[in-house]
């Protein structure tokens, strides 16, 4: 078809208002087929799209509305949509035309008229629209009805109270039972849009309507399918069986060609699973969800990216999904970097004893690639793998040592950083490699890796023969180092002194460092810590030793998982921006309403236990948050993390009033009181770690973010670590 296209490019010339006006006037006469008028209108529209102000032509262009030619009507309407609001005082000229078109014989014209009117939300147009919309919602033509449904949402945006008083919401509800699937889908879309507004009428589904909507799925367009599936989240199952039956009907949509349909279907299934008890069916659903997610990975990089970010969330909540598919996430050399990094994260999460060998082999391959960012992350993942899978630790350490032999600076630095954590995870097992680490001291030029190696030297000073020499070298540039390294040096010097209290060199060293830290440095943290150590050593060196070299809490990889309640809530946003940024939308989107699992008799007990209600202000948040979803589903949460320290801060009401109102409104709506569940469980539930402050998502960034630092497995109490 190319080549036969129009030669309309000539219209893209800057035109003068006066000329157009003259041309329009000329087109009044001797223009039987309206070709002249069409030409000049095209020029005007072309100028609008170029961003030139054509509003002075308002009265002239509006004259053409009477022309019985759809093409011209469309262009005039486009003009009206652009300048209607600016020229609100002249809109009364147009209203009669609108009314006429609303009653045109051609359904396209009728639909076009109400659609255009809904785009110009000025009182006079809205008034006219309200009248016409009532007929159009009952028009015999489905095209008009489906357009009218969306117009109701527009009307609601312009004037909510008028729309409610006019009974339009009820009329939309009636359309849910329309015979045409597209009309149904658009009615759902409109109701959802209204329901998502903070001042909107609540849109909830009962079982009968939800089932009706499911029936319409078969005939809807792909977009309609998305609206309908998404609306199912507004249905709260009261019985397990309801959720299970519904899930069975949604499952087939996983075979849809449209990736957005697939992901929405997965979101619905994940939601419904919270209300099920049939474990067999749940396993079956998990098994069914894997392949479509994998299929998404055969699409373009954009779709892959979104899919990968969501997979990351899904496998944390439902680890059995994709359990055996780690190979799918092996990176290709020419994948875009954002795809590679996301795949790497998933590979790490899917790593288990059974596949650790394969995963390690891949990670080693990546560590020799070209892209620096990717290589660093790969090296770090090897260390994290060692921490996560004990059986693979030996080979991971060997791999890291091999990598250090390449003497590529950033590889060595990453390796040193992770090895520090490996020491923490397996005390007394790998210290034999310390001499090897010390060989590469000169390659370290980044604060983080330097601090890591200094920590190692200080901590194991009793096993390193020349620890005092090494420290002496390292402290040589003390005053030029960044704070991070200075802090590490200070602590290491103190540890060294405690180990080798009788050596003169160490005595001189610690004295020197303490003096620098307390006298020559501006940083208050460093100074305070310097004074603290100094006093401790002065008063009682033995006790100082016990404190500084106290046994450290065991390091685990659980900390970098999200807590279950937050996950449940985030998964309600599967596929949406929230799942890309791994944040709840109300925290970064204005006017967004949060979604929360609603309690019902069918809600699975553990989900209820970790229920995070949609941002409720002024109420203490439930004190129970289970660390990490873990593969164990049933009340295994107790005591998995004995060493955790509960943070005792009182939760702060962080939400402002407006979102709070909604939340309150919503929680009142739900059939049983969410609060009850929380209170009941308070006593038995283990009090475990909870991100500080009132925001249960505060910890999410560190659990996920793109930065390397964030991935680091860390002990639960950071302050303690800094001191030691």
């Amino acid at each position: 078809m190319s080549g036969q296209g129009g030669q309309d490019a000539k219209f893209f010339q800057r035109g003068k208002i006066q000329e157009f006006r003259a041309e329009l006037e000329a087109a009044e006469s001797k223009d039987k087929k309206f070709t002249k008028r069409k030409t000049v209108l095209k020029k005007i529209v072309a100028n609008i799209t170029m961003g030139n102000d054509m509003s002075p032509l308002f009265t002239d262009v509006v004259q053409s509305l009477g022309t019985p030619l759809l093409e011209i009507k469309k262009m005039v309407y486009l003009f009206l949509v652009c300048y209607g609001r600016q020229k609100a005082d002249q809109l009364h000229l147009v209203i009669p035309h609108f009314l006429q078109d609303c009653n045109d014989r051609n359904p396209l014209v009728r639909a076009l008229a109400i659609r255009t009117m809904s785009y110009i939300p000025t009182p006079i147009v809205i008034e006219a629209l309200t009248e016409q919309l009532r007929h159009c919602l009952k028009d015999r033509d489905p095209y008009v009805r489906k357009t009218a449904a969306i117009c109701v949402a527009k009307l609601y945006t312009a004037d909510p109270r008028k729309a409610e008083k006019g009974g339009f919401v009820e009329m939309l509800r009636d359309l849910l039972l329309d015979s045409n699937a597209t009309v149904v889908a658009n009615a759902v879309a409109a109701l959802s849009e209204i329901g998502d507004r903070q001042d909107g009428v609540i849109f909830k589904l009962n079982l009968t309507v939800a089932n009706k909507l499911l029936t319409a799925l078969g005939e809807s367009s792909e977009w309609g399918t998305i609206y309908i599936l998404d609306s199912l989240l507004r249905y709260i199952p009261e019985r397990h069986i309801d959720a299970e039956m519904m899930a069975e009907r949604v499952i087939v949509q996983l075979n849809h060609a449209n990736s957005a349909v697939v992901l929405t279907a997965i979101k619905v299934l994940l939601y419904l699973m919270n209300y099920m008890e049939n474990r067999k069916l749940m396993e079956y659903i998990c098994k069914k969800m894997g392949p479509p997610l994998v299929t998404l990975l055969s699409s373009g990089p954009e779709v892959q990216y979104v899919a990968l970010r969501n997979i990351l969330l899904i496998i944390q909540r439902r680890p059995s999904v994709l359990k055996n598919d780690v190979k799918v996430f092996f990176c290709k050399y020419n994948d875009p970097i954002y795809v590679k990094l996301a795949k790497l994260e998933i590979m790490y999460r899917l790593a288990r004893e059974e596949n650790a060998k394969e995963v390690l082999a891949e990670l080693q391959e990546y560590a020799s690639e070209v892209d620096v960012d990717f290589v660093r992350k790969a090296v770090r993942s090897i260390g994290r793998l060692a921490i996560k899978v004990q059986e693979a630790a030996d080979s991971c350490i060997q791999a890291l040592l091999d990598l250090m032999d390449t003497k590529v600076s950033y590889v060595v630095q990453e390796a040193v950083i992770v090895i520090k954590d490996v020491f923490r995870r397996y005390p007394g097992k790998y210290e034999g490699i310390i001499p090897k680490l010390c060989e590469h001291l000169d390659l370290l030029d980044e604060p983080e890796s330097k601090a890591a190696v200094i920590w190692i030297i200080g901590q194991f000073a009793n096993r390193i023969e020349n620890a005092d020499e090494l420290m002496d070298d390292l402290t040589y540039t003390f005053l030029e180092e960044p704070t991070e390294v200075q802090l590490a040096l200070l602590t290491a010097a103190v540890k060294l002194f405690i180990y080798k209290a009788h050596s003169d060199t160490t005595k001189a060293l610690v004295h020197k460092v303490l003096k620098w830290a307390t006298e020559d440095v501006d940083n208050p943290d460093l100074r305070d810590r310097g004074f603290m150590y100094w006093r401790m050593l002065a008063i009682n060196p033995a006790v100082a030793g016990e404190i500084v070299l106290a046994e450290k809490p065991a390091i685990t990889t659980d900390a970098d998982r999200m807590d279950r309640g937050a996950l449940d809530q985030l998964l309600l946003h599967t596929g949406t921006l929230g799942s890309i940024y791994h944040k709840n939308p109300e925290t970064f989107i204005r006017n967004a309403t949060g979604r929360a699992l609603a309690d019902s008799p069918a809600l699975n007990p553990l989900s209820r236990q970790v229920l995070v209600p949609a941002s409720r202000p002024n109420l203490p948040l439930p004190a129970i948050v289970v660390p990490g979803p873990g593969p164990q589903e049933i009340s295994q949460s107790n005591g998995t993390n004995g060493s955790l320290v509960a943070t005792g801060d009182p939760p702060e009401p962080t939400r402002n009033g407006s979102t709070g109102d909604v939340a309150r409104r919503r929680s009142q709506e739900s059939p049983s009181n969410e609060g009850d569940g929380d209170d009941d469980d308070d006593d038995e539930a283990p009090v475990s770690s909870r991100p500080a402050g009132g925001d249960p998502y505060a910890g999410l960034d560190s659990a996920f973010g793109g930065s390397y630092v964030a991935d680091e497995p860390r002990p639960q109490n950071q302050d303690l670590l800094d001191l030691i």
């Binding site: 190319s2 309309d8 893209f12 399918t225 299929t295 050399y333 070209v370 921006l577």
Partner: protein
């Protein structure tokens, strides 16, 4: 669940088409265009820019996101400010691009400008200003927006107006099936199926595949009259896994009987995607790679040498249009090679890639290329894998066949045709 609009950028990053954005401040689309251009400019490779960009609003409190993708020479942007599924944005963008293709063929800034009135009509019909996708099925769209075909031009010259021709089909959306036009008539009733399978694999240093997957798709061109209801049976349907279908396919029926039951749209459409897994007892069965690569890569200071032998494992068929590529790393400055059998090689300074091109590889033959490359880097770091692309015409890994095509609802007997072809996209590590 609403998209804010759509913007199309030309090669230089300037907008050529954009939807209304009426409920947004005028600066809103500009912010997004700016954000994308800035991100592209600051990235090392344009393909490394996140497809979902966070866009800070003018007044700090209204951030939004911009989903963007590049197809052909144009870049398509879809700003979203609500909590919207980015896949929804990407799916819509892809659909819109497909529609533009359908209407204009090759897409460039020029074709869009030449047909801007049609582009705007399409935009109006596919995305309402509230951001809801409307009509995207090509069959229904053709009723309300006339394609710029010769016929249309002739009609308009002859004075048959757009209004007249659309009243000719009188009731758009009259068809009870959203994807199929009502009242289609053909003299010869035919339907064609194109099966294209792509082997995607990563091969380890020792020559064993780490991953290998066959992705298949069935494209169809349907020229059948009336409302045909088809029942399509494949000979080996059980080895087609993870299928995804055009909305016309009755999903329940497939999950029950593994047959495709559908009323097809008129014209060209993609019937299904699938993954093929050989139906063997072992769960780890993988499709084997149809060739062997024996690479030797030596890296010296400021350069290195490559010696590469490729032998076909196919016994009866030949591979065609085989490309073997190696990225030589930052600083690569040139290469010089000799290839056997008169095959050609080239070095592209722009992408710093060595390309070995073989028009045809006959069964069980060996091909060789050897040579050296130079680099300004002291220790060149070429990529750790060769990228091999190839085609095998008239062949399918899955050996998929149409067993039967039954038609109900109409009286004629359709002619059916099927054509297969296979592609490969392999990464071979050395």
């Amino acid at each position: 669940m609403a998209l804010d609009g759509l913007i199309i950028l030309d090669t230089t990053g300037r907008p050529i088409v954009q939807s209304g954005f009426h409920s947004f401040p005028p600066a809103y689309p500009l912010l997004h265009i700016d954000a994308v251009n800035t991100a592209l400019a600051s990235a090392k490779r344009p393909s490394d820019v996140d497809p979902v960009i966070y866009v800070q609003g003018l007044n700090l409190e209204s951030p939004s996101a911009c989903c963007h993708m590049k197809r052909g020479e144009l870049r398509y942007l879809c700003p979203v400010s609500g909590d919207v599924d980015p896949l929804y944005a990407f799916a819509f963008l892809q659909t819109f691009v497909d529609i533009l293709h359908e209407y204009f063929g090759h897409l460039s800034a020029e074709t869009l400008k030449d047909n801007f009135d049609i582009v705007y009509q399409l935009l109006e019909e596919t995305l309402d200003s509230g951001g809801h996708p409307l009509t995207t099925s090509p069959n229904a769209l053709r009723d309300i927006v006339l394609p710029p075909s010769l016929l249309h031009k002739v009609l308009s010259v002859a004075g048959v107006s757009g209004l007249a021709s659309s009243t000719a089909t009188s009731h758009p959306f009259a068809s009870p099936i959203p994807w199929r036009k009502a009242g289609v008539r053909y003299n010869n009733n035919e339907i064609y199926f194109d099966v294209v399978e792509t082997l995607e694999a990563i091969v380890n240093k020792n020559g064993t595949p780490a991953v290998s997957t066959v992705w298949g798709r069935v494209d169809s061109n349907c020229k059948l009259s009336g409302t045909p209801d088809l029942l399509l049976t494949f000979s080996n349907a059980q080895s087609l896994l993870d299928c995804s279908f055009h909305p016309c396919v009755r999903l329940q029926r497939w999950s029950r009987d593994k047959v495709l039951s559908f009323v097809p749209p008129d014209g060209k459409f993609k019937l299904m995607d699938y993954r093929y897994a050989p139906a063997t007892a072992s769960a780890v069965a993988q499709t084997s790679i149809p060739f062997m690569l024996r690479p030797t890569v030596q890296i010296d200071e400021h350069g290195g040498s490559v010696d590469l032998t490729l032998s076909s494992r196919l016994t009866t068929r030949s591979m065609e249009n085989v490309f073997v590529e190696l990225y030589l790393g930052d600083g690569a400055s040139g290469a010089s090679c000799t290839a056997s059998h008169g095959a050609s090689w080239s070095y592209s300074p722009k992408t710093q890639t060595l390309v070995w091109e073989l028009k045809q590889i006959v069964p069980s033959a060996n091909y060789n290329i050897r040579g050296t490359f130079s680099s300004t880097a002291e220790h060149p770091r070429p990529s750790r894998a060769f990228r091999v692309r190839f085609e095998v015409p008239q062949y399918n890994y899955s050996a998929i066949k149409i067993e039967q095509l039954k038609l109900t609802g109409e009286v004629y007997k359709p002619y059916k045709g099927m054509r297969g072809s296979s592609l490969g996209n392999i990464e071979w590590r050395w």
